[in-house]
């Protein structure tokens, strides 16, 4: 057991996750001090060879952690990036208000080794904007669709591409948008078959779901 967990008192760091799942634990930033983040990162850096990240970190915390690279749009701290993998993800977002979630998805995916392309501001109210990017959608191994309000973009993309589509509802909108719940329910009820969904505003969740697919692809490659 000793090898699996590092006891920091305030946290039991699961340093065996890379061995089990290919990717070290990603640190969830909210509620942790700069010192706590640094201690957990140090444990992960020492015990693994993979990428070490913390999500949802504000600039007032990040400025105390110069050893890590900070991406303010994605609110992501990166102590060590992964080696690049042969898997591509296209991050498609519906509106300018969805940009922070798209930034998190793209930054996390990139830091854990995926190749990332982006298509932005292609909401369905002007469907021609999306159709102009059909090639980019088809070229990717996985498409992450990020949309708030009614979340209709996921269904349209799901009908255009044959590969995996991971939908991320966002809390963009007001009133009946119910802080993302409407987009979440809509994406789960999509008429396009085989779309999967992650939690509201979870660019991180979509990126790690993409990683799981890349894991299977690489394993196949290795077995060939």
């Amino acid at each position: 057991m000793a090898a699996d967990t590092v006891d920091l008192g305030f946290a039991q760091v699961d340093v065996a996750r890379q061995a089990r799942q290919g990717l070290p634990e990603v640190i969830y930033g909210p509620g942790k001090s700069a010192d706590q983040l640094a201690d957990i990162a140090a444990a992960l850096l020492a015990a693994n060879t993979g990428p070490v990240l913390a999500t949802r970190v504000g600039p007032e915390i990040a400025e105390h952690l110069p050893a890590a690279h900070y991406d303010p749009a994605a609110r992501l701290l990166t102590w060590r990036r992964a080696a690049a993998r042969q898997a591509t993800v296209c991050v498609v977002s519906a509106g300018t208000s969805d940009a922070p979630v798209a930034a998190e998805a793209a930054a996390v995916a990139s830091a854990i080794g995926l190749a990332v392309t982006t298509v932005t501001d292609v909401g369905v109210a002007g469907i021609h904007r999306l159709l102009a990017h059909t090639d980019a959608l088809h070229a990717a191994d996985v498409v992450i669709v990020i949309a708030g309000m009614e979340g209709a973009l996921a269904s349209v993309v799901g009908g255009l591409v044959a590969g995996p589509v991971i939908a991320v509802p966002t809390s963009t909108g007001y009133g009946a948008a119910l802080e993302g719940v409407t987009a979440l329910l809509a994406m789960l009820s999509s008429c396009a078959a085989g779309i999967t969904v992650v939690n509201i505003d979870s660019g991180f969740g979509a990126a790690t779901a993409a990683y799981r697919l890349a894991h299977t692809m690489r394993r196949r490659d290795d077995h060939r």
Copy 2:
């Protein structure tokens, strides 16, 4: 008061509605016996010149009312149709499961004098099906969009046409579709500006909303 209301004991029939609003009251069928429907219809036929209808009537009731025409798909009884108006409505529906609501919208709209065209089974998972009907959408004075599940069709249509779009969420779907609540919330949160929404499964509501638009159009025509 005598002229405004006919007292049938179980109901106070508002026979002045045509004078106030151009259209007699439409009878809401659920919970009413064939005799009650016949009595209310008789009062409306006698006191007005406009169309007399009853919605949501099952065949087991309708068979006792041979004086009225019955449309089983729309579950609509019609004692008297309106004269035709110079206003057209296009009823667009997303899937075959939405057919009953589309039938009600089309049948009510037609019975109250609007010219109706239909576009069926054009859900957004195969967006090309909808785009093939762009001309029909543009030709109408009003477009009624009927969709369940995630209701995304309303947003896409709202982005294609310039005229009024009335969205009707349906209770099609299961689980996260929440019996139409998800489509309702999604349509209200649409990223396409100026879409309006009526109650779940209310083809009747959409048809009468279209009638209101036609009323204004006709008044304007009359004033020219």
Copy 3:
């Protein structure tokens, strides 16, 4: 495609919307900096001839955009107004707390070319206040009804006028008012036939829905 979209990096401006729908895209203010608003407005002004607006803009942003007219009650920025159209909208509001939403509806409607009249503070608890304004309601091509709490005003107005009624629930009230959800559900369940509803607090949505009707009316005029 190049003609349809202007790529500003952070946004893909849909400059073809006026051609498709008669009205350029209206900018959604929240989350955008003064510079971003200015850049999008510049793209729209250059590519179109129609009105250019941004909604839900606070005074701390507006003061950096002297080129636009700012209406603080409506929180609306206007770079260019539309030419006046021959269509009138009456904005009716239930209480003094609904004033900001009514102001947005009226200001947007006016800026996009509609003639606007207003009836304020006519909640149904003193029904005589509303009945005193019956003529103003009948005179309009479209009536926008703005109410929070129980939203009953929409049903009463819907029973008085024959033309289109667009209901806007507001987040006025507390407790069981559920930040506008109660008024929204009540308006959707209205016993007055043919009322349509837009999102909570969306004066903008109601104004653009009115514009859609005006579009159809003008097209009819043009075809005569």
Copy 4:
């Protein structure tokens, strides 16, 4: 204790309620057999002098209880009526679909000694129907307002009369009416001050609330 409760095994009948509250317990019918109803009624009849009733009883149960009077519209069994009191209640209902709840309110109120008047089918979509009955509303000591869908009738009546208004939301309607929850929330959020609300479809609750008011009135009369 022996005097307060009669132990029937399956039930502990609170026979002291009349002494405490002026009115014996009213039996809640659902789930009870005809024999159980008869046993509880017998205990109440023996230990009290007041009215003995059972609510929400179907005809298939009632036919086995010939000793009680059965009102099928109200689904009410009455073994013994109360002496008449000098208090009047006006039961106002919005539509024909609300009739069963109105029947329960009126029948229970009458059986427990209140004088009842009724105004039916006066929904706010035809406000003149209600205004024609203003005198009946003013004449009553208490007004019970019964409405489903958006429940707007409660607010309008609350603005017309000065005395107590007890609102009963009903499960009439579909979709966004949410089986009475919308009317319930709307009545609780009413802009008319001092309206009180009971549970959905609870004609019984409104009648017993009216009884409580009559109790205070009589006590006051007695003290003069």
Copy 5:
């Protein structure tokens, strides 16, 4: 009409409410400036003889209105009190956290002419505290019960007294208390017959409901 409404531009003051309902309109404070409150109060003072109040006013507004008496616990401004009536209300509250709502109920009731007694901090977890006050409960014409969390106090009081019980759910509590919704639902589902309920935290609503009863009682007195 002129006599019924005073047009202040930002508000249409319903000055005829006293004539219709015995009590002038009570001003709802939130969102109004001190000047607006003063103007509405002036209109009401001039056109009526009854009490003039504003609820939910913070001290930062009240300090600019020295002409009115301010009760900081109740957040109530009073320009003119009503003459005392022969009706008593007992305000019972469950816990110390419910004190602000109880203060509003008591202060409004007193200002509109009712005699008020109070019983505080008698939650059902120590039922003996409530039972010690049985006499005070019985002595009142109306009992207002104020409770948050699970709101059980309303049911217990409803089982002890014979007169009217008006329940006010409060937003006291956390988690499953859902900001007062749980207490609201619980009070509406009470097993004690004839309890009525007003909106969450609405001490004002309970006081004006009590006033409605006092109105009927006085009318009866006048008719004797």
Copy 6:
């Protein structure tokens, strides 16, 4: 592993639960055929010495399983009862409609070895009925409180006894009772400290929670 699980194809019976937790798995009846129930019971009887039960079994299934004792009120099948333990549970229920849940709690508790007493029909609207049973409540090691509607009984009992109180909300009631959700939320928000709650209508859950306490008590006894 072979010893832990018996593979029946349609089910993997966890026969090691008695060794881990002192009590064999209790079979959940819904959706299982008589044959499936018999097969699972046989596996549990063979591999353990403890009680073997199936809950929520209808009479139409039970009649095919003569080897088990069937309690129709509790809908419980018992193949083998547990030896009696020195732990007592008092099952208190609020109304006659809660009887089926109380029966399940009592029958399961008894079958797994607890001594059971019952107090029935003691809803808080007649608080004296409950207070008459204070001794029975104090005598028990654990009190299970079963109530629907507003669920207030749990708070009152929680304030009377010092030992563990397990609250079971029931789906009794209508409208705002929301099929048990209101009682559930109310019990979780109870002002009486230290009450715990199980799922709606889960007499089984309460009985097994009581068993867990008895387990600890016996272990303590064994260690003395």
Copy 7:
């Protein structure tokens, strides 16, 4: 357009979906007659070479369609199966009540060409049952986790395997399980990173999501 859609009057069959997405449209059974199913299937069989299926078909419909193979556990009709692909999916289910959803997932996955393994009845209350199957989980390219009630199995599996995990909440359970909504929310909130979720009870959705992954894998294989 002619090539893309076959117009059957009641349906517009999207026969181009195989060309766009590799898989013909799967027919949604509910609400369709046997004749309608047969007509749609005929259109799909004629225009494509891929598998042709209809989901959620009851035996009373299936018996009229002898040309298709019917799987009653999965409620699936298969007119033509796909050729086998080199991709494996492991369908893991928590309890015996989840069997119908697991059967649909497995049958659809198999019919569209995936190799399927199953692990059944491994709920987390007996965690050893799941841990015994770790090898089967690791061997699959994709794991589908099917669980109702609290849905905890998804989080545990998500922590064990490195590849894609698709979670399917089921409507198993009662009360607080809220017909699958609780499991849905829990899976979306999982502490295991990168789990994706489909609609309640949608074994079909999970199988087609797995197909999308297989599509990317095959494309990658083809490109090597």
Copy 8:
């Protein structure tokens, strides 16, 4: 009565609770000033011999109360601790974000006399972390499980131990976690039998529930 309640004007302190339930009332801090806390504590200290605590007290209040010990992590003030009891509770928490709730549970339990052990940061995504602590779980008389997000830890622990498990959902997480409602519903729907649940974030509720169990254990010990 005098002996049971101390009247402080703003509060009626129930000083008889220790006599009734073994433990004096614990003061709920929110909304109370330092002076109010001091006065209530003084009344409790004078009238009882047991522990005197106040929960949810911020440091800005606590600094004015030097007579009490303050635990900032638990936000707990302690004027007097209880004598130690022979009962042990193990507080198990899922993640570092759950630490404040775990601290409250542990601190309150300790202050009221229970022996406390802790197991921290053992979320189910790394199930080996929990399994390493099986001995600590088994050693306790009661286990308190604290988890947010999907709350799966409660089910896994419930399947491992035989004694009482009290689950505390926390508001940790975002989006679909719904501020703790998801964990609450999941714990109530747990597939592990006999788990009980307290309110969201209520470490206090769990500690006092454990105390109730200890009360029964001690009473039993005393009777031997």
